[in-house]
Symmetry: C2
Subunit: 244 residues, 2 copies
DNA sequence: TATGGTTGTCTATATCAATAGACATTTAAA
DNA sequence: TTTAAATGTCTATTGATATAGACAACCATA
């Protein structure tokens, strides 16, 4: 855990800065030899803060389920992961990370119909106000939430996609049933921001966490747009990989 | 500026949360009609905080040069930008964003020689301990720092690249002089984290800001790796675009 | 079983963040 | 010129954050 100092009077509490740093170190494998975080006194010395401040940071990580303190022994690492998420023509949620976890699942959060906004109409190359199916899903890996996505589909072709998705649990399969045997990722935009309230709830994040946001367009093999989606990933659980 | 409430007792000061939210709104164009942020009293009402807390947030944004308060008139928006940064086979710093800004520049921060670590050797397909040229650069758009990058080149082929880069200001040109007429991006990995101390200094960020990190490998047309680089972008100034 | 190392809890204090209110200063518009 | 609306500044107070020290409880090991 290299030397960057933590910063005071920045509006970000010391315990939160330290919690974030320790989380990164855990994911980086810095404590793999022992499977434990260094003793509180050692961390206090290292970060130049009081032991109580370290305890606040570790309590936050324990709340996330990342560490578990055991009196008399130390603070054990419970979980660490950052899934590698390939982005390519064939980007799909489950395929890419299938070999990194035991189980991937995609569950529906909500569905609905809405008229195409100017932005959505532009992306999907349809008229403003055209009917769309909106599908909100939660992506999970080994029962831990990884991403939440909102997708829009032209309702004239895919009016039934929400229903089919609910039964199959797969957008790829739903597309297939609706006469789209294959589809490709046309463009992906990536940004990052702080987690909002919904992110905290759905992705089980702690306040101040970072989400990576992708805005993506999928088209069928005739280059007709079939799906536009905005996905929000827990940044400390994923990395994106773009291969050319 | 939609409804997510700000959160108390999370280790992130209210003024910082609010400053981040207002920055996003500005970049999103929410206040383009007036070119001004809403009055402090209105923001205080909207966020449910005291006016002084809003003033702390606006003071932070003023420090970043994003807004400028004018007594009697209001708080003017000085600058907003989020450069779109294409990632493809032909990923280069200046080309991609050249049409979005008046001037792009890449300046050297530091150079040096070092032996290849296990990780660098694996990426560049050379032997561990082989000599490398390390080049640290700062990417600027319209005189505002956008990214800082550390690149490694095999020293046997590119021992002089730092020197040539210093005179030409372009890695592409330096490659050309060294017998590499063209090169392509093989893989790009993207992660996000909080800005560290060096980021704050080099990228002129405020504490708690987010950096997008790319780890990328470039190869020549014979598929021989020529450059491995780790770049850190100010997340509120860029978006990545991947076209397939 | 004795000991050293570790986490858990308590009290006290200092500093920062946020709230509250009042009033001054500046600007734009009536 | 007047007025309303906006930012600038000040004082006072409260609550959260961080520091400091002491000691209890617990665990692994010699």
């Amino acid at each position: 855990m290299a030397g960057q100092k933590i910063q005071r009077q920045t509006g970000v509490a010391l315990w939160r800065q330290i919690a974030d740093r320790i989380r990164v170190s855990i994911n980086h494998g810095d404590f793999d030899e022992t499977g434990m975080v260094p003793p509180e006194t050692a961390l206090a010395l290292q970060f130049g803060v009081n032991r109580h401040t370290i305890r606040s940071a570790l309590a936050a990580l324990a709340q996330e389920g990342i560490v578990r303190a055991v009196q008399g022994r130390g603070t054990l690492i419970e979980r660490k992961e950052r899934l590698s998420f390939p982005i390519s023509k064939r980007t799909r949620f489950s395929q890419g990370i299938g070999d990194q976890v035991r189980e991937t699942r995609s569950v529906p959060l909500a569905t609905g119909e809405e008229a195409a906004s100017a932005e959505l109409a532009r992306q999907l190359k349809i008229k403003i106000g055209a009917p769309l199916v909106r599908l909100e899903t939660l992506g999970q890996a080994d029962h831990r939430p990884v991403s939440r996505a909102t997708s829009w589909f032209p309702a004239d072709r895919f009016g039934a996609i929400a229903e089919i998705y609910r039964t199959t649990g797969s957008i790829t399969k739903a597309f297939r049933e609706l006469g789209v045997p294959d589809y490709v990722r046309v463009i992906t935009e990536i940004t990052a921001t702080h987690a909002d309230e919904s992110d905290l709830a759905d992705l089980q994040l702690s306040p101040g966490a970072i989400v990576l946001i992708t805005q993506a367009l999928n088209s069928d093999l005739d280059n007709v747009p079939v799906q536009y989606s905005i996905s929000r990933f827990a940044a400390d659980r994923v990395r994106f990989t773009i291969e050319n």
